[in-house]
Amino acid sequence: MARDTPAGDLRLANLTKTFGAFTAVDSLNLTIPQGSFFALLGASGCGKTTTLRMVAGLERPTSGQVLLGDRDIARLRPHKRPVNTVFQSYALFPHLDIFENVAFGPRRRGIRAVDEQVRQMLSLVQLDGYGRRRPAQLSGGQQQRVALARALINQPQVLLLDEPLGALDLKLRRQMQIELKRIQTEVGITFVHVTHDQEEAMTMADTVAVMNAGRIEQLGPPAEIYEFPATAFVANFLGQSNLIAGDVFGRSGSDLLVTAHGARFSVPAGRSRTDHGPVFVGVRPEKLHLADTAVQVPAGRQHLEGTVTDASYVGVSTQYLLRTGWGSELSVFVANSGAQQRFAVGDRAVAYWDPRHAFLLGRRADEEDRTIPVLDEPIGASS
């Protein structure tokens, strides 16, 4: 049923799901272009899995539509939908061998000659010759690939992936990320990938939607979201950001002028989400550089002085914490390229940045600096 009908974009229109008084998904509007690799990124409980399950038909929406092309499939039973899922737990059938697991979909759709198709699929996921084994005899990574083959063999219009790499160790996860991307390019099916791992989302997806509390906070290509986040949540969920609380006090040419803790900064208006009132000046840790004294700061850069309170050597870079005069700690990543001077804990140092790398976000008046990553949110490259 999947191949014959022309697939279309997947559109979610005012999609809402409430469980009692709790709103898991809050009138979501989203268009996922056909053939794209789309990632729904968010912390656990943000509604991303519920969204996925509504597309799969495993959860009934409270209101709203799930449109595939022009067809609303929101009220179809799961087995009637041209959509397949790779489950987080893989959910392979333990009583069937690998071949029968992969052949499950085609057989239920009345296809008899499945041998050739199954063989092709197993070879696509590099499991040739594993057909007669039971799922329990396979490693986690192999089971994951069986789950993928079992879904892909149906050539669905949309493939849903629910944290598919969550149970794998880091090395295998990297490998599977590349593998998944290769397979997606090869088969050209729309992939909707749900994950809490920002690195995974950025590695694979063409478009990332960051979800928080049942809503989408920002949507766009990974680089765009990373370089110019829309909200403080996104700035610290996708990677890590130093957010300095301040207030806009004026404008100079194409720059907005901000005062924060007695210091003055400027941010290009094109990199500002607001042009008045309380704001956050945001700078990514790797966009900060360190110098001994303010004199060494190159022209046109902005700077802050402080004391090094922590220096963690992590191989590719050294991650410093710099305590500013008003007590906040800035995170600074300095690449270990060999050219940079090393700082020790207790050293005075000056952090500087190019104003074009900063960004300006709206802030509630009562919000303070957000410079140290919040612990229960996944952070930067360390995850």
Binding site: G57, P78, T85, A91, G105, R108
Partner: protein, 304 residues
């Protein structure tokens, strides 16, 4: 049977050290643990069984007063079978019908308790087990009241013309089958429940995601995965139901007597020990044949 066979070798986890590295005491331990059970089985199962086998081959002309002699009278078997084959057939027929009825009731019940009952699960399980708190005999006597000619059930069935004006339930094959169904139902439900309780709900979601309708999901996923419980449950139901004599005795007439009644009377009324013993062995081998035939067809490695 599998538990016994696997117990000594049950140390096959990858974490355990290779057998060669173990001390002698460790290797003996599983057998020592088996010893009390094995001794019990030997004294109270194997010895009486051999005795019973010997009794089945006694000279049939002997009696309790004159004493029996072991004459290897193999003829006891065909004689017994010839005399009582209708009761034999009836045993398997009644137990078989009762099994089908119990499956129709028990599978949905076990499924509902295991998958849908939520916080009522434990309460419902107690309800399934609760009848066991009273004696088998008392429960069957209670059925006598329920099915009696003046009881509400017969009255109701007569009113809706499912029974004729003179129709009755007690002392009919129906009563015996109903009694068997009722009395052995928990033995079917409990193993089934244990199997269905472990059924991973996500597998059902996966099946429906892969184009299986609810009916096909049941046929292809739920049923095969509940097979171990289904097999254990049907055996626990069928074996005692076939040998049962209480239900036929209390709810039926001699026309409904099963092989258990015949063995009962051979030993306790007619005092014909050779025949009672021969019938017992015939029943045992018939049940074993049915069970092995069934297990071969059902074909699960876990049970055999």
């Amino acid at each position: 049977m599998s538990a016994l066979a696997h117990a000594p070798t049950g140390s096959g986890q990858p974490a355990s050290p290779p057998p060669a590295a173990r001390s002698g005491r460790h290797r003996l331990l599983p057998y020592l643990l088996l010893l009390p059970g094995a001794a019990w089985l030997f004294l109270f199962f194997v010895v009486p069984l051999v005795q019973l086998a010997a009794a089945s081959l006694y000279d049939p002309s002997g009696s309790l007063s004159t004493g029996y002699t072991l004459t290897w009278a193999v003829g006891n078997y065909p004689t017994a079978l010839q005399a009582y084959w209708p009761q034999f057939g009836r045993s398997f027929l009644f137990a078989g019908i009762a099994l089908v009825l119990a499956l129709l009731m028990g599978y949905p019940l076990a499924y509902a308790i295991a998958q849908k009952a939520g916080r009522w699960k434990n309460l419902l399980l107690v309800c399934v087990i609760a009848p066991m708190f009273t004696s088998f005999l008392v429960r069957t006597l209670a059925w006598k009241t329920i099915l009696s000619d003046n009881g509400w059930l017969v009255g109701l069935l007569r009113d809706v013309h499912l029974l004729g004006p003179d129709g009755r339930l007690l002392a009919t094959p129906i009563a015996v089958v109903l009694g068997l169904t009722y009395n052995f139902l928990p033995f079917l439900v409990l193993p089934l429940y244990a199997s269905l309780e472990r059924l991973d709900h996500r597998l059902l979601e996966a099946a429906s995601d892969l184009y299986a309708s609810p009916l096909r999901t049941f046929r292809r996923v739920t049923l095969p995965l509940s097979m171990p419980g289904l097999i254990a449950g049907t055996l626990l139901f069928f074996i005692p139901a076939t040998g049962d004599y209480i239900n036929a005795e209390l709810l039926g007439t001699p026309n409904e007597y099963m092989i258990g009644n015949v063995i009962d009377s051979a030993f306790l009324v007619r005092l014909d020990y050779p025949q009672g013993a021969a019938l017992s062995f015939l029943l045992m081998s018939a049940i074993l044949a049915v069970v092995f035939g069934y297990l071969r067809r059902a074909g699960t490695e876990e049970v055999l």
